[in-house]
Symmetry: C2
Subunit: 139 residues, 2 copies
Amino acid sequence: MSSQKETIMQALKEKGLRVTPQRFAVYANLRSRQDHPTVDQLLHDLNQEFPVSSQATIYTSLQALQTAGLVREVLLEPGVTRYDANVDRHHHFRCRRCGAIEDLPWTTFAAVDIRNVRAGLRADSYEVTVYGMCDRCQA
Amino acid sequence: MSSQKETIMQALKEKGLRVTPQRFAVYANLRSRQDHPTVDQLLHDLNQEFPVSSQATIYTSLQALQTAGLVREVLLEPGVTRYDANVDRHHHFRCRRCGAIEDLPWTTFAAVDIRNVRAGLRADSYEVTVYGMCDRCQA
DNA sequence: CTTTGTGCAAACGATTTGCAGGATG
DNA sequence: CATCCTGCAAATCGTTTGCACAAAG
């Protein structure tokens, strides 16, 4: 049985990425959380105990991880880029009040028939973004 | 019958916005086009013949128009904010190759049942983003 | 050892803001 | 004529880049 740590190291290696403490920390942290942090949040959280990574390295690590297909960007607010280690297809819920973003399982909705888009376009995937109020903001 | 110009002026007035040449130009231009221009594209296009508006004014105009509900942002690329005068609900198609964005009519898809999101969330709207290749990029 | 990554600081680009003069209602 | 808008330039904020040193394979 492989530990969580080994799983992550193997994922990096399989994609041809060198396993550095910084990359490991970024990817491991992203995988361990449910929200979709920004670079600043990652930087802050990783360096809580003692310095693990610099800002520039987080940017370049994320870029490498993204190119490798281990991480994706989530864009729902202007000027705010968030990152998500869940690269399986899924949908998003966004709270109108607090801005919180939550993943929705792909199975939440019946399949959308994207063959119906305008003739001439070749559609290959899609995702649904749902807006509303999260639990806490309904108070 | 009211001219296009009067329609636009009335829309601005109804929202309590002063009708200035700059705001008029920004909103009229946005309504006249099908794509979703960035601020730079707007600035360039508006000032083709002779100066109509400054960069800062376009930013503030867009902000006012957006607050008034006449314009919305479209966020599909990191660091790129686009604007859309179509505030009726609709979906988007994004070309993976050239990045072009196209509106898809709301009626393109059967309704997505957003009552099925996790209990506790109060969903009130949604939109579908479809990815693929546009006509030209299939060549 | 060769190649790639890290960290710092400077560079960059998009957006915001302060302020003085100008236009709108 | 009181209020709000414009335009300029400076300030801000997120992200990228150049480079010297360090670490990975």
